[in-house]
Structure formats: structure tokens, C-alpha cells
Symmetry: C2
Subunit: 492 residues, 2 copies
């Protein structure tokens, strides 16, 4: 396999090569849609399993709603419709027929035109709230805490594997509540679930905060988000949790009788993360040799490579390796013993390094004599000799250490790439020469935000949670009194 382009040479090219060479994903023959290949999908499955567990632990159930949204439902919540109308795939016909002018070709059958067009869901608020209407009569029917694992389609013009694709996989939670307070609590709770997952499981540090009105989800009253910083200094929105207020309840006339007998609109939230997170995973940890995976997400956590010259050596090494495999499996550690004789150890080393297997164990005849093996850590590219006795315990401990270590490394990178600025000159200088998050005061004016965006391509990623002393502080751009301290960055 070809060596990857280095990150310093061309970050974007490095990313694409890494994604395709590791067998994670590739572009398909459908414009903007990707094929998620087995190795990439295995990572997604691990993410799904953990998120699903966390959703259920917080009281949510899964369900499944239709792929299609009839146009009349799609347009019901005006802002939501406006936000997604520009990039939606529309089904207009339900049949193809033989093309009379082209032998063996098909054409849309004009007689099979739908009375009402169907939008392929870009997000499911409309179809779900039109359904909730029939489920909710009284406070006894609330809350509804539902999540859906699904594919969605947004007709993006510029696409990149995982990061931005016309079709992507995600989960979308849609909850209904009797009070504003309860809906708010859900909105923040799910943001916490996301940040716990992304930091603890994916090893990606995130900043929690609130979006500005410009950056809000179409149809939300508030959008909470978690923002991560990539190695190249660009930010990536890793997850969002929306407080929808009563917007969708009003659009679909969903009211409930309260305990007191009054009739009121239902309060809503929605929240989602997607396969985009795999892009964040890659751009947070990986290096010029390939993928670096946090142990908790690695489809293969440990690979064992035997090194032998003859059958006697092979047998002796296999015995030790098989024992290790059993010990690791007993600890629920996924392990692969790669004893394929058709491939040389060096090739295997490269392959598993490229694929980000956290720990590689190499066993040669000399090692056996010394009662040890060679352990290589993928994240640090360091090697050590470890005793065969108690090796499974050593590995278990090391995997925890790696999980923690790659998070710390990413956290350090973010700290080093978060800069406070007070002037627009500083702002542009940092943006140009250093990148990363720029922490600055903002006057709360959307126009200021928009001008900065047009001049520099940097956007306000979020208004981080927490108290900030704004006294005497001014907006670095407009000079007006500051209303917020925010994080700017160029973003994926």
C-alpha cells in the first residue's frame, strides 16, 4: 500500500487517503453519497452500541418513522422548512417504465406522478410531530422520550467522506414534554450524554455551549452544541441538542390537557449525532502513519503478530498466542491473532498501524526464551518488552492508559490552540497563522457576526457555558459593549 501524504503537506489529502486506505469509506457512484465499508461501519457500530445504552439508561426508547415527509407536512413549520427546502431530495414518481425510444433503458412513467411530492427526510421533526399529535391528549401521555436510528438526506453541494455527505447515518431523539422546564432539562441532559460519550469514549475533548441565532437549527428556539477542535486548527460541531419550544406543537396543533384541565401546546426537544463523528475521530487522533483509535472504539483492540522461521518456532509461539487470545477474550478485549504465513510481519505491522489498532504484540523465538513479548503502542509509536506472565492484565491496564492518554493529548492540543484576543488585528493574525479556537468578546449583534464571517470565514462556534464577567468588556470588532464571550473558529 502507498504511504500516506503527510498532514503538514496536505491535510485534506491526508484525510481522504487515510479514509480510503484504511477501508473505512469511499465515494459511491451516487453524487455525494458514500459507501461505509466494513472497517468504518464496525467503528460506527461500537459508537451506536454505547450511545444506545446511554439513551436507554436515560429513559429513552427507540422507534422508527417514515423515510418520506409529504410536502404539506414538510412545509408546516415554516423556519424548519425554509432551512431544509434548499437541499432536499424530492420523490415525484412511483414507477419507471420502458423507454420506447431507447432499447433496454427505463424512464420515469409520467402516469405515475404522485399527487403530493415526498421529501426524503433531512431531519424528522415534521413527520414525527404530525404523528405525536395522535399520541398526546393529556399530561398522562407525557413525556414521550423517543430516539430513532436512521439515514437522512441533505443535498449538500460540496461533500467529504464522513464530514459532509448527501446521505448520512445518525440518531435523532425527539421528545415531548408538559413544561418548558422539563424540555430544557432534557435538552441539557442530552448534551451531557453526548459530551460524556464523545470525551469518555471517543477521546475527543469538547466545549459545551449555545449557538448564536445565526447558527441555530432551523425551527429551534435554542441550539446547544458541543464543539471539538481538529488537528489542523479547524472546529467541528460534534453534536447538537435543540430546545424547540412549542414551535412544532403549534405547527402541528399538538395540545395536551394539563392536570389542572387547561389545554396547552406541548414542549419539544430534538438532538442528534451522526457518522460525521467518525470524521472528528480521525482528525483528532490520527497521524501520518494512519488511524489512531481510542481503545473503546477499536474494532480490534489488540493484534498479535508471530515472528518465526520454522514450524517448531511457530508451534511454540502459537501456543503462547492462543493462550493470550483466550485470556483477553475473557476480559472482553477484542483480539486478532494474525498467523497468516502468506504475509510478512513487516507488512502486518504497517497494516495494523494504518488501521489504528491500539496495541500490537509481536512474539519471536527469542522473546519466548526470555518469557516476554514486544508490545507496541499505536498512539505513541513506542515499544516495550512485557512479561508473558500476567500479560492480559498488563494489556488491560495499558488500554485504559491509552484511552486516557489520547484524550489528554487532544486536550493539550486544544489548550495550545485556544487563544484570547482583544483586537481584530490579533483575531486575523491568529486565524491566519495559528488557527484553533479564538476566545473573544461579542456584542451579541448578528450583523457583527455576519461581517466577521464574510471577511474571515470564521464563525462563532458557540457561547460556552459558564459565568463571564462582562463589565467594561467590548466587542473586538465593533467596539460596542460586549454581551457574550464566545469561541470563534473556521469550521468543518
Amino acid at each position: 500500500m502507498a504511504k500516506l501524504t503527510s498532514r503538514s503537506e496536505d491535510y485534506s489529502k491526508w484525510y481522504n487517503e487515510l479514509v480510503t486506505q484504511t477501508g473505512m469509506a469511499e465515494n459511491s457512484k451516487v453524487r455525494g453519497c458514500m459507501v461505509i465499508k466494513p472497517y468504518g461501519y464496525a467503528i460506527w457500530e461500537k459508537m451506536q452500541a454505547e450511545l444506545d445504552r446511554m439513551f436507554k439508561e436515560t429513559g429513552h426508547q427507540n422507534a422508527y418513522f417514515p423515510l418520506f415527509v409529504p410536502k404539506s407536512l414538510f412545509e408546516a413549520e415554516e423556519k424548519n422548512a425554509e432551512g431544509f427546502a434548499k437541499e432536499c431530495a424530492v420523490v415525484t414518481h412511483y414507477r419507471l417504465k420502458n423507454d420506447p425510444n431507447k432499447e433496454g433503458k427505463l424512464m420515469v412513467d409520467p402516469e405515475a406522478k404522485l399527487e403530493e411530492e415526498l421529501v426524503v427526510r433531512p431531519t424528522s421533526e415534521a413527520i414525527i410531530w404530525s404523528t405525536y399529535k395522535n399520541w398526546i391528549q393529556s399530561y398522562r401521555d407525557l413525556p414521550i422520550l423517543i430516539n430513532q436510528w436512521a439515514n437522512v438526506v441533505r443535498w449538500e453541494m460540496r461533500t467529504r467522506l464522513f464530514l459532509r455527505t448527501a446521505e448520512f447515518l445518525w440518531q435523532e431523539g425527539h421528545t415531548a414534554h408538559a413544561t418548558r422546564e422539563e424540555a430544557w432539562e432534557e435538552t441539557t441532559k442530552m448534551l451531557d450524554v453526548y459530551s460524556d460519550f464523545i470525551e469518555g469514549f471517543m477521546g475527543i475533548p469538547v466545549v459545551k455551549g449555545m449557538k448564536t441565532p445565526n447558527e441555530r437549527f432551523a425551527g429551534a428556539e435554542e441550539t446547544l452544541c458541543i464543539e471539538a477542535l481538529m488537528q489542523d486548527g479547524k472546529a467541528l460541531q460534534a453534536g447538537t441538542s435543540h430546545f424547540l419550544g412549542q414551535n412544532f406543537a403549534k405547527a402541528f396543533d399538538v395540545k395536551f390537557a394539563s392536570k389542572e384541565g387547561t389545554l396547552d401546546y406541548v414542549w419539544a426537544t430534538s438532538w442528534g449525532v451522526s457518522t460525521r463523528l467518525i470524521g472528528a475521530l480521525i482528525m483528532t487522533h490520527s497521524d501520518d502513519n494512519g488511524l489512531v483509535l481510542p481503545p473503546k472504539l477499536a474494532p480490534i483492540q489488540v493484534v498479535i503478530v508471530p515472528i518465526h522461521r520454522d514450524d517448531a518456532q511457530k508451534a511454540a509461539i502459537s501456543e503462547v498466542a492462543e493462550k493470550l487470545v483466550q485470556d483477553l477474550k475473557a476480559k472482553d478485549i477484542s483480539v486478532k491473532f494474525d498467523d497468516d504465513d502468506n504475509v510478512k510481519p513487516g507488512w502486518k505491522f504497517n497494516e495494523y498501524e494504518l488501521k489504528g489498532v491500539p496495541i500490537r504484540i509481536a512474539i519471536g523465538p527469542r522473546d519466548l526464551e526470555n518469557g516476554q513479548v514486544e508490545m507496541a503502542r499505536r498512539d505513541t509509536l513506542t515499544k516495550s518488552f512485557e512479561k508473558i506472565e500476567g500479560l492480559a492484565d498488563t494489556i488491560e491496564q495499558k488500554l485504559d492508559e491509552i484511552q486516557e492518554s489520547i484524550f489528554q493529548k487532544a486536550l493539550n492540543h486544544r489548550s495550545e490552540h485556544t487563544t484570547e484576543v482583544e483586537t481584530y488585528e490579533q483575531f486575523k493574525d491568529i486565524l491566519e497563522n495559528k488557527g484553533g479556537f479564538i476566545s473573544a468578546y461579542w456584542d451579541g449583534d448578528s450583523e457583527t457576526e455576519e461581517k466577521i464571517k464574510q471577511e474571515t470565514k470564521a464563525t462563532i462556534r458557540c457561547i460556552p457555558f459558564g459565568e463571564v464577567d462582562l463589565e467594561d468588556k467590548v466587542d473586538f470588532y465593533s467596539g460596542k459593549p460586549a454581551k457574550f464571550k464566545v469561541l470563534f473558529a473556521k469550521a468543518y
Copy 2:
């Protein structure tokens, strides 16, 4: 909640009421598409988990391919295209815009017409084989053993919840092999996986066999299938495994270099089961009181209902119940202790009976005095008293017994409703008055099959596997020499 219509009164109505009243699914506002509600989805999740385990155990990996199939790929395999063109949803545009004539309404933007129409996948052979083309150069790239969990769309005109919906969820395996033999082996292996799952896990007995050419999957050389018999005497195709020969490899020009250096087309299989199986589950086991679930699929396997008059009784019962909950959880048995005081025990009994919870434990103060509880079996509607001591063990054993028992019951029903006939008169009589599978000799002529179908609506469900002595046997309809012994039935 309203009592269900009885099965004898109106089977179809009973089915619909059961599906909606149990909260399994409901019709959506999108023609022919259903909403799979949490209780129905929980069953699907259990099915997925087990199937997914079985697929991986047999060497398959999951991946994900695009939802859309460009028309030019869709039409490449002619028979496949012909089979699905009549019922496919077609995306023609990628944008909506404000309708200038209708305030607040949207319309398809005529300027956003796709150059090439996209078919929403009714099945994924075309998109997958156009992808495999790039993955396969030599025998070293084979076999490819991939499965996909996905939604598919077939524009069915007459739809029924779970049984036939325009959109449904399924899994589709797509494998590529170097030899005909290997592809055949895969085709039969996956049929075995399906029948093991459906019999062992869902408690539904199936007949394994081969489809006639008339009933084959469009584009397959052979379709293997498993056929189940519903309570009302109609058959239901529970799963199919297709030997695709080299049809798709030829359509997409997928060749590989063999060990010997020759260039040959790749051999293919595909196989799938869908949410339709949930319909089969319902119509195999359930009764006039509601759902009957095999323990291995029940989201709640055991429910505990306390019966008390005062707080002291409640406390004493809760102590026993909580202990039981812990003991059952330790055995991985899912249990719900329903101590909601706002609902009467009788209402709970009905509710859990309707929902098919396999075992109900009721605990009253008198029971405690006697060191026992009341156990009710959902499948037989029988009750017994069981000692509190060792109760978790008793329940574990009983769940196994129920799993086996409901399979046996269904098997007996099928035996009683499988009839051999030798004349067309007998055939029509059985079909009209008894239903079920009709075992009969067939001359192998598609015309005979078609005539019988038109006259009686019965189709050949399959040619069951196994040796049959055909000497001197004649087709019951045509009188011509028999080529096969087959199973006829009216089918869902």
C-alpha cells in the same frame, strides 16, 4: 382498552387491532408507510441482535451502501430492473422553493432537476455490485461476505402493517465468490441460518425449499426460501436466499483473476429478512386476548404485579419482588416490577396479557404467608402457585418450557393443516374449507402453475428439499407426469 375482535370473527381485523392496541405499529401519514412504535421496535431490536450475532459468527461483516440507485445502474441487470421498476420511488429533484402563487407553500424547483433520476433502493444488488466492481481484481479479494441493515422502498399498492409496507426495514446480505460451488454453499448456509433463527428464536416452524421460476427473485438463478404457515391457513414467506449466479457480475462487468490466471465473472448470492417477520410472529402465536411472544423475543419476559390493601402489605410484597427482580436480572431475564398504585391489578393483567409478556407473577399478602406466588403463563393462560424459594430458577426453566411449547403448538398446527391431495377437486375443497399447505405433484410447467393461481389464488410456496419418489406420479391438475412434489397455499 377495547376488547379485540376475535380471530374467528374477522382475522384481518383482529390482526390490525392487535398491532395498534399493543403499541407495535400504526399507519403513518405517508401512504403505505408505517410508524414502528417502541414496543414493536423493541422486538425488532431483539431480532436484529440475534441475527447480527449469527451473521458475524458465519464470517459476515456489516457495511452501508447508498439509499439511492442512479437509473443507469438500476437498469443494468435487466430482469432485476424489470421486477422492481413497476414499484419504485423516484427522486427527480433536489430542491423545493417558495410557491409564488401560494403564500407559505413550497413547490418543486424546476431548476433543480437531476440530470439522472435516482431510484430509492427497493433492494441493493445494483448499487452494491457496481461498488464490488472496484473491490474485486483477483481471487485474493474473494469471498466478500457483507450484510447491510437498511430501509428499502417498494411502492406496494395494497399495504398492511408489517406484512406489506411501502417502506420496510430489513437486512440484505450480498456476497461474492470465486466459484459456483462456494456461492451455492453460501446460499444454503444462509437459508439454514434463517431457519435456525426463525424456528429457534421466533418459535415459528418453517419449510425449507426452492421457489419455482415464476416466484423467483428478479435477477436470481435460484431462490431458496423458508415458508411458514399462519393460524388462518395462509402461508407467509419468511425469508429468502438467492443464488444469483453471474448475472450481476455480468451486468456490472465484475471479473476476477483466478489462481490459474484466467479471468472469470464473479459468483453472487443475496439474502434477506425483514420487519415482515413481526407479522409472521403475530399470526403464528397470538390469540384473542392479544400477543403471545416467545420468551427469547419478549422485550419484557416477566412482569411482577403486587396486590395489596395497605402500606404494610405493600412493603412486604415489594421486598420479595425486588429480590426476585435482582435474581432474574442476574440471569439476564428482563423483568418489570409494576408497582404503579394508580392502576388496578386487573387492568395490569389485561395490559400485559395483550402485550404478550410470557410470565406474569402476582404477589398478594396471602401468598407471602404461604411462601408462594401466583404464576400465569401467557401462552396457555394457565396459572400455578410457585414457591418463593428458588423462584428465579423456576422462572428460568419455565421460560425455556414456553419457548419450546409455543414452537410445538405451531408445529402441530402446521401438521394438522398440511394436506396431501391427488385431484383438483380435493385441492379446491381443501383450499376452500380447510386452508393450509397442500402437498401435491406438479408437472414443472409454469403454465399449469399460473392457471391454478388464476383459478384459485393458490401459489406454489416452494419445492421442499428432500428426495421424492416421482415414479408413476402425475400432476393433479394437468395429468401430466410429475416432476416435483410441491407445497401450494394462499399466501400473504
